[in-house]
Amino acid sequence: MRQSTQSALKRSEALAADAEASRVRTAGKRLGGWPEALKRDRYLYLLILPGLLFFFIFKYVPLWGLLLAFKNYSPFLGFWESDWVGLKYFREFFTSPDFGLLFRNTMAISFLNIVFFFPVPIILALLLNEARLLMFKRFVQTVIYLPHFLSWVVIVGICFLLLSQGTGLVNNLIVQHGGKPVPFLTEPGYFWAMLTAQSIWKEAGWGTIIFLAALAGINQELYEAAKVDGANRWQQMLNVTLPGIKSTIIVLLILRLGQVLDVGFEHIYLMTSSPVSSVADVFDTYVYRLGIQNGRFGYATAAGIFKSVVGLVLVVAANRLAKKFGEEGLY
């Protein structure tokens, strides 16, 4: 017993040494021979070149424009002639009397979005996955994808037609049945729920695509094994399907956290009106008003940098957390 264990240990040590040696070999080869590798796979590198150029020119080069946040930029004077102002815009932004309100509104809208919107495509995808008739599944998919192709202008317009107090269909029905018209569009208390509901209606269907793709990638043998073990549909979903798409869910959630301060300018701007502006004013609308409308590009850039930094911190933190719990994460 002891002997056999010892020999097994030895064998495994030998194997490990072998593996180590081979790792060193390949690493050495890689280090020494990258020009060679470049030459050997030149067509592959050529293929990737346009993509690299795209990212370099359109994503990395414009980054120098971030310097605007530290300048009193005037298009008339040009970039270099404009004065440096240091951290003035950041100070102004953080000490603005509206900052607290903007932060609360932005976080609340984003949080509601993650809690209520994020799970919907997953649930939908799981339901679709269980559909028995292929025809039915296809039909439902098509129908729920459609709203994605409508612009926010159209959706807000439809909402107005349905929910306005004077002419809205819903309020007309309420009045006909003896109720009082409900100010859906102008009551601050309904605003966040309204935004979340609209987002779900527009994008939930489209969001199922990625989860359906992940579902298709689950090994069918696992289902068969589960059936042999006597698992019913519900147990199969809990023990095979969900673990199968878990990593996809986590990656998407991490990416979503990166955009926590982007709450959809177009959507909110269209839905905003004076009565709800205390709950609807977010960083994006504020930046539009003070930065773009008043031509203060430096200020707008400073606010943009703040948003990006918050996004980056959240992505890194969430990724760390995911790894700690043994998930793959983003990188």
């Binding site: 008339f76 002419t167 569009l185 102008t186 009106s273 004076s274 502006s277 008003r289 008043n294």
Partner: protein, 511 residues
């Protein structure tokens, strides 16, 4: 097609040349009349005139027959450079920065391109004050427009004239008034009563309680007819003769209070806070509301919309009701859209030539030549005086060719439209005539924006609009309004804004 057009143009132009050779001098005596004969100077070389202006369509060609006609007539060579409207500000700044100015420069609004105000101060453009009186068509522009266009007390530019009045009027469903046996309101109390009747007495006779007295736009800013209460136009003078924003006046508060009361009574469309400018005409066209405060001509336009489904329906434009002081009040518009500056680089001789061109195009004849081409070939004049382009004229590409003109003043432009019946037109003209004596100009027209406003203006406006709307719908009270006004009266940067505006105003009005 274009080539053929050119041939025709050339033929026409030579015909024109022969017929006008005797009458048209190279260097007209600009001292008295725009294009008077000056025999013997016919052989002079045409004067090149370069012009920069705005365009809302594709850039038109400068080879059009109408242009050549003007060239020949005044012995000039017009060369117009069109800039698309969406990047006009950047382009104007770039032209100024590169010192690449043409003889004539269009500036949409000095407050959008303050660099031009600096250039003006530095003497980059001609002072036209002593010259205008020599050009009869230009001198005919209303005095108010010349006042509004002045920069620091001097006429530094030619205004692209627009009517002064007609954007403030009250339009009412005439058929509803008649059905309910009511008269058009002339006081604020009567207006309340008519709005109430329109709301409660089923004026459309469908048996449902689905109509409202009036409809107003509320988003992005509440467009209520404050002017009706005598608030003044944007800025007004307080007891001490100092300019203050119109919303500091008690009349403005009265206006908010009035509409808040009406909203509470349910006579204003409840969707007011979310209605955008395009939705107001829709509500009127659907027969949801019976009163709106819009352009005079909108009465006819909405009637056309309505009659598609209800041939009896009719909107009529009226004077707005009298304020508590027993007077009717209107706001005057600036009377121009954009200004033409003449570069100091051109000689006085050439300046006179340029003014001659502008004087000629400020006549209906010259204006039509540039705007529509050759009469009876490119366009026809209808018996009622309106202009219809021929197919030939449409092919030539004339849209926007008149963007470089200062044009001629048509007081009734906001009261008429192609196809309007003669009786409506006559009625509208009379209405404009009644409005004119009671409309007041904005004292700050032509003033540069203050630094404080440039920095915070959009935010100030938004907070004020929010407050007004919330008071009207009953979420805030008039006490909140008093507090709001007080906050701004005590705010350091708003005080600076008011002070700077006063200083600019003094500078403008001091001769």
């Amino acid at each position: 097609m274009k080539r053929m057009g050119k041939t025709i143009t050339a033929a026409l132009a030579s015909a024109a040349l022969i017929s006008m050779l005797a009458a048209c001098g190279g260097k007209a005596e600009t001292g008295k009349q725009g294009s008077q004969a000056s025999p013997g100077a016919a052989a002079a070389k045409p004067v090149d005139i370069s012009i920069t202006t705005i365009t809302f369509n594709a850039s038109p060609s400068s080879d059009l027959a109408g242009f050549q006609e003007v060239d020949k007539k005044l012995n000039v060579k017009l060369n117009v450079n069109y800039i698309p409207a969406n990047n006009i500000t950047d382009k104007l700044n770039a032209l100024l920065a590169s010192k690449d100015l043409t003889d004539v420069m269009f500036v949409e609004d000095l407050s959008y391109t303050p660099a031009y105000a600096t250039a003006l101060d530095q003497g980059a453009f001609w002072d036209l004050t002593p010259y205008i009186k020599n050009y009869p068509n230009l001198a005919k522009y209303p005095e108010n427009i010349w006042e509004n266009v002045k920069y620091k007390g001097k006429i530094m530019s030619l205004p692209r004239v627009r009517p002064l009045d007609g954007q403030n009027s009250m339009i009412i469903r005439q058929d509803w008034l008649e059905k309910l046996g009511l008269k058009a309101p002339t006081t604020l109390d009567e207006l309340s009563k008519v709005m109430e009747a329109f709301t409660k007495n089923d004026p459309d006779g469908n048996g449902k309680n689905d109509t409202y007295g009036a409809v107003f736009m509320g988003a992005p800013n509440p467009a209520l007819p404050y002017y009706m209460f005598g608030t003044g136009n944007n800025w007004t003078k307080d007891a001490g003769g100092k300019l203050i924003p119109d919303w500091w006046t008690p009349q403005y508060k009265d206006a908010i209070a009035y509409f808040a009361k009406e909203y509470k009574a349910g006579t204003i469309m409840p969707d007011f806070p979310v209605l955008k400018s395009t939705q107001v005409p829709e509500m009127l066209a659907q027969g949801k509301a019976g009163i709106a405060f819009v352009n005079v001509i909108d009465a006819y336009n909405r009637t056309v919309d309505l009659q598609k489904s209800n041939p009896q329906a009719k909107f009529t434009a009226y004077e707005v009701p009298k304020a508590a002081d027993g007077k009717t009040h209107y706001n005057q518009s600036s009377g121009f859209y954009g200004q033409m500056f003449i570069s100091k680089k051109v000689s006085e001789e050439k300046l006179k030539k340029i003014l001659e061109v502008y004087d000629y195009t400020a006549s209906q004849e010259g204006y039509n030549l540039i705007s529509y081409g050759i009469k009876d070939k490119d366009y026809k004049v209808q018996p009622d005086g309106s202009i219809v382009q021929t197919d030939e004229g449409k092919k030539q590409g004339y849209p926007d060719t008149n963007q470089w003109l200062s044009g001629y003043y048509n007081k009734y432009q906001r009261a008429e439209i192609v196809g309007i019946p003669a009786d409506v037109k006559e009625y509208n003209h009379k209405l404009i005539d009644a409005i004119t004596p009671n409309s007041i100009p904005d004292p700050t027209y032509g003033l540069p924006q203050t630094e404080a406003y440039k920095e915070k203006g959009a935010d100030w406006n938004k907070k004020r609009y929010d407050m007004i709307t919330n008071i009207v719908i009953g979420k805030n009270t008039l006490d909140d309004w008093d507090k709001f006004v007080k906050t701004y009266q005590q705010d350091a940067s708003f005080q600076k804004h008011v002070q700077d505006t006063n200083d600019n105003y003094k500078q403008k009005t001091s001769k």
